[in-house]
């Protein structure tokens, strides 16, 4: 072999959406570059223009079937601004929060158990036919049952608060269109104790994984970075509302308590020709050094504490792993994610016992504004919705910066890091090596359809390309693997 090559992994499996990875190898099989390509085309920001503003929370949530609640609520929060409402009636805000905690719980559980647990339970290099949820059901039936029922619980919280398990319609500009009936409340409370126990067990499982695999965790896609998230005024984790905080690799503040209305003063987006996903960065640090991570890892790095008892303790243990310094390990996203699941489960319980949820004051109004900006912590990280609405109530401008987009540079770093560690100089590239790359991407739980606001089918792929750009190998779920010698 004297030529350089590019390996293409396409589709990337067990992620939400359609993307591919290309690994560029030189003539000596050294990895020169690895890229995560998002090959879906965006459209929502354009075709929402001209629509009426109260339709927006219902339309934009169709970006995604996994975290529609995040988009529904982010858009509703932005539309609160449009109708001049800064403070919602308590029933409305608490219903939305309950919906959001249910959403994060179900999304995190789906990602950890259904998508990622096969890698963690059976090994990154296990036979591909074993690395799926069905093998988890066969080998760990109790765990699989817990995963399915926990996710169902999250979906039922969403249904009770939004009207439907997927794509509900309850969050309206300035409020909510329903409260929680006592029957709905009692149904959700019925088995809550059991769910809480399962969430604690999930934290223990994730923690024991990172401790037992310390060596791997400290080497695998482990790199310093900045971290950004919403934060409550007192420094607590707040997934629904707050101000922006960014910290550097040493945990020092880059900016803090930034009003989300001013996010544009602190963040910029860069476009690269090989991906439909933009590359955001912190303006002050520039596009080279200003990239940052978002999501569970960043949130737990940035939060001073969690305000529910079990999750507070779990967070302290998490911080002890790195002696209080920021945790930069991609695989620790899983551990952080399960701590958030526990936090959400506790929050759901706290809210279910709150009589405000049966209140009847559901909607406020105020003086109309032209611009609405909202940030929410979606399961995968900070989600920014920015709109302008004209005097006829029609949207004239829309910009969505979703969690996966914030993590774009980080995922590319993770892919490069793993490619260099596992593929570099290898005479032959095996399926197991390529799965290591997928594991790195998967840690971020990317939602590629959200990131590009696409519609349609979207599995993920990996390609091996030579110096001329010719594809030599491709890994694809839907392509005859013999054709490509894999």
């Amino acid at each position: 072999m004297t030529k350089s090559r590019v390996i293409e992994i396409e589709p990337l499996t067990r992620v939400e959406g359609h993307g591919k990875v290309t690994v560029h190898l030189d003539a000596q099989n050294r990895v020169s570059e690895a890229r995560l390509h998002i090959v879906e085309f965006r459209g929502f920001e354009r075709f929402i223009q001209g629509r009426l503003f109260w339709e927006v929370p219902v339309i934009v949530q169709r970006l995604c079937g996994i975290c529609p609640v995040s988009h529904h609520l982010a858009a509703a929060k932005a539309m609160d601004k449009i109708v001049g409402v800064d403070i919602l009636p308590p029933t409305a805000e608490k219903m939305r929060r309950l919906m959001h905690y249910g959403q994060i719980l179900q999304s995190h559980v789906l990602h950890f158990f259904h998508l990622s647990s096969p890698d963690l339970l059976f090994g990154f290099d296990a036979e591909p036919e074993r690395r799926n949820i069905f093998e988890v059901i066969r080998k760990h039936p109790e765990l699989a049952k817990q995963a399915i029922l926990l996710r169902k619980f999250g979906q039922e919280v969403i249904e009770a608060t939004s009207g439907k398990k997927i794509h509900g319609t309850s969050a309206i500009p300035g409020g909510i269109n329903k409260n929680l009936s006592l029957a709905e409340r009692d149904h959700l409370l019925a088995n809550h104790g059991q769910f809480l126990e399962w969430c604690r067990a999930a934290v223990t499982l994730a923690k024991s994984y990172v401790i037992e695999h310390q060596h791997l965790v400290k080497r695998f896609a482990h790199f310093p970075s900045n971290h950004m998230s919403l934060i409550r005024e007192d420094g607590a984790l707040d997934l629904y509302h707050g101000k922006l905080r960014a910290t550097d690799a040493a945990g020092q503040i880059i900016f803090d308590q930034v009003d989300t209305d001013h996010f544009n003063d602190y963040l910029m987006e860069e476009v690269k020709p090989w991906s439909y996903m933009k590359f955001p960065f912190i303006k002050r640090l520039g596009n080279v050094d200003g990239w940052y991570r978002v999501g569970p890892l960043s949130r737990l790095n940035n939060a001073a504490f969690l305000d529910t008892p079990l999750a507070r303790d779990a967070h302290l243990e998490f911080r002890e792993l790195t002696q209080g310094s920021p945790n930069h390990s991609s695989l620790n996203y899983h551990y952080a994610r399960m701590i958030e699941v526990l936090h959400c489960c506790e929050k759901v319980h706290e809210l279910l016992l709150d009589p405000d949820l049966q209140g009847s004051d559901l909607r406020s109004s105020g003086t109309r504004r032209e611009e609405g900006i909202a940030v929410i912590e979606a399961p995968r990280g900070s989600l920014i919705h920015h709109y302008r609405v004209n005097e006829n109530d029609q949207v004239t401008f829309c910009n969505l910066i979703v969690s996966t987009t914030h993590n774009n540079t980080a995922m590319n770093r993770a892919v490069t890091d793993v490619a260099q560690r596992y593929l570099d100089g290898q005479p032959d590239i095996t399926e197991a090596m390529l799965n290591h790359i997928e594991v790195a991407v998967r840690a971020y739980d990317p939602c590629l359809s959200c990131a590009t606001h696409a519609l349609g089918q979207m599995p993920l792929q990996v390609e091996l390309v030579d110096a001329d750009g010719t594809c030599i190998q491709r890994k694809s779920q839907y392509i005859d693997e013999d054709t490509y010698g894999l």
């Binding site: 009426l52 109260w54 339709e55 939004s162 319609t169 309206i172």
Partner: protein, 256 residues
């Protein structure tokens, strides 16, 4: 001729004997007898115009619109027959093809008669034929009312309500054939005297999500919307129709 007719007589509808008051249309006689004939353009309180053809029934072997066809002694009528429902399904499918009826994001979803009719007729997925996917401008110029012609099914209920009940003539058909659409009596809605108090703007007059009362969208939770509770039938079709006493006495039916 009316002197020669008895004041009441009977007809047969799907094998059931229905007593008719002289002068009633087949639709009116069936409504009174509690028999539901599917419909879209007809609306209690408005003069019937027989344009959607969904209410077509089989009258002694001829297919005619029940809303405009007078009941007559001796009629043997088929209503809920497989053949008629197949025709109705095709007609409703055509309406979906001609407009942009995106139920998942439409605020009329759950109270939309087109959607409810589709469910009633067993339309659960897209038909294989191409969709016209029109791109018609949304007229949001009025402070309280918006008009999204992409969702119009040309039932003309707003035209009749505005002309006959409100006496305002805000709406009318413009264009011909496939280009036919609902126009307003000025360059844009803001320049007409349409108001939220108009019967033409009342919820339920527009059977779809074309005429929108601004900022009211999605205010009813899923599960409590009109057709969430039960499929479209006589009871819930009538409950949001225009009260008959609102109809001026001098109005005569348009020719079918």
């Amino acid at each position: 001729m009316s002197e020669t007719l008895a004041s009441t007589f009977t007809i047969q509808v799907d094998g059931q004997t229905v007593t008719v008051q002289a002068g009633q249309s087949i639709m009116e006689a069936c409504d009174a007898a509690g028999i539901y004939i599917p419909r879209l353009c007809d609306c209690e309180g408005l003069v019937p115009q027989g344009s959607c053809r969904v209410c077509c029934v089989d009258i002694n072997g001829r297919i005619q619109a029940a809303c405009t066809q007078p009941a007559a002694p001796g009629q043997v009528i088929g209503n809920e027959t497989p053949t008629l429902n197949a025709h109705r399904r095709t007609l409703v499918e055509m309406l979906f093809h001609e407009g942009n009826h995106l139920c998942p994001i439409c605020e009329a979803s759950g109270r939309c008669e087109l959607q409810a009719m589709a469910y009633r007729l067993g339309i659960t997925q897209a038909s294989p034929y191409p969709y016209l996917q029109p791109v018609r401008p949304v007229d949001a110029s009025h402070p309280d009312i918006a008009l999204d012609n992409n969702r119009c099914i040309l039932c003309g209920r707003c035209i009749r309500a505005s002309r006959d009940i409100d006496q305002k003539h805000v709406f009318d058909y413009v264009g011909r054939g496939i280009h036919k659409r609902i126009g307003v009596s000025a360059a844009r809605l803001a320049e007409t005297d349409a108001s939220l108090e108009d019967e033409a703007i009342a919820r339920g007059t527009c059977p779809v999500g074309c005429i929108l009362r601004k900022r009211e969208g999605f205010d009813t939770p899923v599960g409590q919307r009109l057709f969430d509770r039960r499929p479209i039938d006589l009871d819930n079709a009538v409950q949001h129709h225009i009260p008959t006493q609102a109809v001026p006495a001098h109005i005569e039916s348009d020719p079918p």
